[in-house]
């Protein structure tokens, strides 16, 4: 029975524990992870690699509560409805102890709904939407990565230090883009009542008509531009913007553009001097990060991406939460994860008790060209706890029943 199950699981990327630990006679702690592996491979594959690395390292240290970690991954194909179905498989058939994963916000929210409905613990890694822990927050859902609000708030802070007064925004027309623009406008206007937002562009996600969009923005004669486009939209936008001179003598602040997932494909056209959130990667020289990046490179012969940082930290946070809970019983884990501190390559972080948001921080810096590739320069790391609104505000955002 065990053999067949392993064979089946092996095919879908499951990672079994080392034989040594099995001999101790304790069943492994199962983490069931769901992500958009086929729909978003560029982001999720480095993430999965790092999770596997973290599981191996944790198990080499003796696991958690004397038990090994076992990671089972599933592909949601980019569809929340599939994620919910697979969550059922992981929970009911494979008896996982913790649900984790999601890259897309809607998949994360759907899994959060599943978690609260079925009283299972769910740790979201990548999803950015604020709703994960605020409007749609619930007792059983924790989220690791800095949210849209946190990313927008640091950019608004940086933007407020600049002379630019006439701002325009360009953003993919869906929830992430809309909330990023909303927060940025709100937070920047609060700090700088003298700024004006003179126009906005809302290309459809993945289908930007870059020439026309750039031309329209140019026509608005802005001083500053907030960009929320990413991926292929960003590539097309930057190329047209470069040729048409949109970025010259203008301030650009840009969400996520410093992540190597988005910056690398721009190659020698990576913009210079944009203020971005992102991930400087191997340029980070703290001992913790060097160890992580070295181990990652040794195992996968590639540099860690932002997704790798999240995947690695996700497993560490789960291990720390379970250790603090001292049990894999769901309600105990919820209490244990609240306020659990864990180490990440970026620094120490915790799951806040107030809203179950992780305090993994944000790297903010400027883009520059080194050779034929874009990099982040002048970056600094801001702890996530400094990017979140006051406790009263958070309490007001989170449903009463979520605690």
């Amino acid at each position: 029975m065990e053999v067949t199950r392993r064979l089946v699981l092996g095919a879908s990327g499951a990672l079994a524990m080392p034989g040594l630990l099995r001999a101790q006679g304790t069943a492994p702690i199962r983490i069931g992870e769901i992500n958009s592996y086929t729909a978003q491979p560029a982001f999720t594959l480095p993430y999965r690699n790092a999770m596997q690395l973290a599981v191996e390292e944790t198990n080499a240290r003796g696991g958690v509560l004397g038990r090994a970690l076992e990671l089972i991954t599933r592909d949601d194909a980019g569809r929340p409805q599939d994620a919910v179905r697979l969550a059922g498989e992981l929970v009911n058939d494979l008896k996982v102890d913790v649900l984790a994963g999601a890259y897309l916000s809607n998949v994360g929210l759907a899994l959060g709904e599943y978690a609260t409905q079925n009283k299972r613990l769910y740790i979201a890694g990548e999803p950015l939407t604020d709703a994960m822990v605020w409007e749609r927050g619930n007792r059983y859902t924790f989220r690791l990565r800095p949210s849209t609000y946190m990313q927008a708030s640091i950019l608004a802070e940086e933007a407020s230090k600049l002379p630019a007064k006439r701002w325009v925004t360009v953003s993919p027309n869906y929830e992430f883009g809309q909330s990023a623009v909303k927060w940025f406008r709100q937070l920047l206007s609060a700090r700088r009542p003298d700024v004006q937002f003179v126009g906005e562009q809302w290309p459809a996600l993945g289908r930007v008509d870059a020439g026309a969009t750039v031309q329209a923005l140019e026509g608005m004669r802005p001083d500053g531009i907030l960009n929320v486009l990413f991926g292929t939209d960003l590539t097309n936008f930057v190329r047209q913007g470069n040729t048409r001179g949109l970025f010259e003598r203008r301030t650009v602040v840009s969400l996520l553009t410093g992540e190597p997932e988005y910056l690398d494909p721009l190659g020698d056209e990576a913009p210079e001097g944009w203020i971005v959130t992102g991930y400087p990667g191997e340029a980070i020289d703290t001992p913790a990060h060097k160890a992580f990046a070295g181990a990652y490179r040794a195992k996968f012969n590639a540099k860690p991406m932002c997704g790798s940082l999240v995947g690695y930290s996700l497993i560490n946070s789960i291990a720390a939460g379970i250790a603090k809970a001292g049990s894999v019983e769901v309600e105990k884990m919820v209490e244990g994860f609240r306020g659990a501190r864990f180490d990440t390559p970026a620094g120490s972080a915790e799951y806040r008790a107030i809203d179950q948001q992780g305090t993994l921080g944000v790297y903010v810096g400027k883009t520059a060209l080194r050779g034929n590739a874009g990099v982040m320069t002048d970056w600094r790391y801001i702890d996530g706890k400094d990017l979140l609104p006051s406790d009263e505000v958070v309490r007001g955002l989170r449903p009463a029943g979520a605690n």
């Binding site: 929970v91 058939d93 709904e113 929830e175 290309p203 020439g211 040729t243």
Partner: protein, 613 residues
């Protein structure tokens, strides 16, 4: 004011790109009547191959041109392979099976591309000359976009010459007008079709390579391009090259100015254009009416009541389904609940598509409208589940009725394309109108009330509703209404001549199909706890087609068989391999080639062998 000229030129550059991606599609359709879903995939291959070639060549313009042509040639060769390996075997199958085969190819190419080039997007590094610009009305305008503006008409001109000044072109035009005639003239159709497909594929490759200086080779090209190309081809008129050009210019320019005037609804705008054009010119701007003769000659087999053995099999299956919660574990219960929804999804599509003769590429629209009706009622009015389950079919039925008012006079591929357009509009609204629909985050917390929360109970409810509705649909198909609907499909003139209200029959079929599908959407929503725009996505619509065609269009049991087989197959594949798209695509292609009448149809044929003279 000064921005009008640059914006216009930008629109024209977009128009050229649109023309390049749609020209091949429309030529292929004109001759072979194949709606080639894999056209976007060919363009994606063009972009990747172009990237591989161009990054290895010197960066001067002449080398760029050479590399682009080499790419077009390479994709043309891939097109030949595709035509000979797959499409040639399905020319005799019903039109929609060819579509299905090409969708299988889409899935295969997705995974193959991922395996060959990796997941990261690959932009072509631009040499200096590709970054050049000229001053136009005080704005910088990219030199390359000027080149693109010229390439569109140039390609149109070359194609016109090829079609009007060569013997090959004469044959192609003749085949576009009348396929049988060309066959009767003793022309080697196979070679003609292969050459046309190679040309179409080559044009797709050309478009892919030429897109590189402004974009990148990435895995999202296929589906985004195919939606654009469909719109252009349909607006221009299927099979009409000048029509495609005109439509490209219309859409490109409209989009460029739409971005300035109504930046939030550009996506909807494009599909609205398509809808408006089709309502006023049902054959597109320059299209001709489709010859219906061919469809009429391929008579559907006589529908007869199920033999006792099949009824028994159905009863046994139903008994097993009712007993399932005592047999299988929690997860398989969810899969079975999904299968119940799939049955509604497929039988409702079959109702309008099989007996109704109205194919739909956008069936997920009704599914989504039903789901959103239930979700929005709950979200904004706190309506309980029974009300949601009632409201869903009502809402979906009403909207499909309204939709029917506009489209009921259309037929064939145009109708199917309009359903696609409508589904895309519905998707865009759900995705972009965040204040009301929650956008891609969806509507959450759509759970059944406590009494129905037990998965077993919910499954039984889903089973009762889906089997109940499926039986009602079946009943209607054997009743005078269903026969009349089929009569209108078999021969519209004859149906009218015996006094049948053809439009009315079709309208009601649309409403019934929409309502049944909407109910499925609501059941699905309560089962998953939420409503998301992915319910209305193109791949979801294609799933409905897959189920119906896999099962078989001409049997009443077909869609049910298809729904069960597809749900099971997809579930097993997704959980057992990361390469599930490759395997699923291959399975689809093999099934289409081997069983053009679908699974149930093939079984029926084997069953009837020797039983009927």
């Amino acid at each position: 004011m000064s921005s009008i000229l640059p914006q216009l030129l930008t629109g024209l550059a977009t128009a050229s790109s649109l023309f390049l991606i749609s020209a091949g599609l429309t030529i292929i359709f004109g001759v072979s009547r194949i709606v080639n879903f894999s056209h976007g995939s060919l363009m994606m291959l063009g972009a990747y191959i172009g990237w591989s070639i161009l990054t290895r060549l010197p960066r001067e313009p002449e080398w760029f041109a050479l590399g682009v042509l080499a790419t077009a040639l390479a994709t043309a060769i891939i097109g030949v392979v595709l035509e000979m390996a797959v499409l040639r075997r399905v020319y005799r199958s019903p039109e929609l099976f060819q579509l299905l085969a090409t969708f299988g190819v889409v899935l295969i190419i997705q995974d193959v591309t991922l395996l060959l080039w990796g997941p990261t997007e690959l932009p072509l590094p631009r040499p200096r000359w590709l970054r050049g610009f000229v001053e136009v009305a005080g704005s910088r305008f990219p030199l390359y976009d000027l080149v693109l503006i010229a390439i569109g008409p140039l390609v149109l001109g070359l194609l016109w010459l090829a079609l009007n000044r060569t013997r090959w072109g004469t044959l192609v035009r003749a085949a576009t007008l009348d396929r049988e005639m060309v066959a009767a003239l003793g022309v080697d159709q196979r070679r003609l079709f292969t050459s046309v497909f190679a040309l179409g594929a080559g044009l797709a490759g050309l478009g892919g390579a030429l897109s590189l200086p402004n974009a990148s080779a990435n895995l999202g090209i296929d589906l985004s391009v195919i939606a654009d190309a469909f719109v252009v081809v349909v607006v221009g008129g299927l099979g009409s090259l000048p029509g495609a050009f005109l439509a490209s210019v219309l859409i490109g320019v409209l989009q460029a100015f739409g971005i300035v005037l109504v930046p939030k609804i550009t996506l909807v705008l494009v599909f609205l254009v398509m809808a408006v054009v089709l309502v006023f010119r049902p054959n597109g701007l320059l299209g001709r009416p489709q010859t219906e003769a061919r469809e009429a000659t391929v008579a559907a087999p006589v529908v007869r009541p199920a033999p006792p053995a099949l009824r028994l099999l159905g009863a046994v299956t139903l008994a097993l389904a009712v007993a399932a919660p005592f047999i299988v574990g929690g997860y398989y219960l969810t899969v079975l609940t999904d299968a119940c929804v799939a049955i509604l999804f497929a039988t409702s599509l079959h109702f309008m598509m099989g007996p109704g003769g109205m194919a739909s590429f956008g069936h997920a629209a009704w599914f989504g409208i039903g789901a959103y009706a239930a979700g929005l009622l709950l979200h904004w009015a706190g309506a309980p589940m029974p009300l949601g389950l009632l409201a869903a079919p009502v809402a979906a039925g009403l909207v499909s009725g309204l939709f029917g008012l506009f489209v009921v006079r259309l037929s064939g591929v145009y109708l199917a394309m309009l359903t696609l357009a409508f589904a895309q509009i519905a998707w865009a609204v759900s995705f972009q109108w965040v204040e009301v629909t929650g956008g891609d985050n969806g509507l959450l917390g759509v759970w059944p009330p406590d009494w129905a929360r037990d998965p077993r109970l919910y499954y039984w409810m889903a089973l009762a509703l889906s089997v109940g509705v499926a039986l009602l649909l079946r009943r209607a198909l054997y009743a005078p209404y269903g026969y009349a609907l089929r009569a209108a499909r078999d021969s519209t003139p004859r149906a009218r001549a015996i006094g049948l209200d053809v439009e009315g029959l079709r309208m009601v079929a649309l409403v019934i199909a929409g309502a049944a599908c909407g109910l499925g959407g609501a059941i699905f929503a309560y089962g998953k706890g939420g409503v998301f725009p992915t319910y209305i996505s193109i791949p979801h619509s294609v799933e409905a087609l897959l189920m119906v065609l896999l099962g078989g269009l001409q049997t009443v049991a077909g869609p049910i068989v298809g729904a069960l087989v597809y749900t099971g197959l997809a579930d097993i594949l997704v959980r057992s391999t990361d390469l599930w798209r490759l395997v699923l695509g291959a399975v689809i292609v093999v099934l289409v080639v081997a069983f053009p009448e679908g699974i149930a149809g093939a079984v029926r044929r084997l069953w009837l062998r020797g039983r009927e003279a």
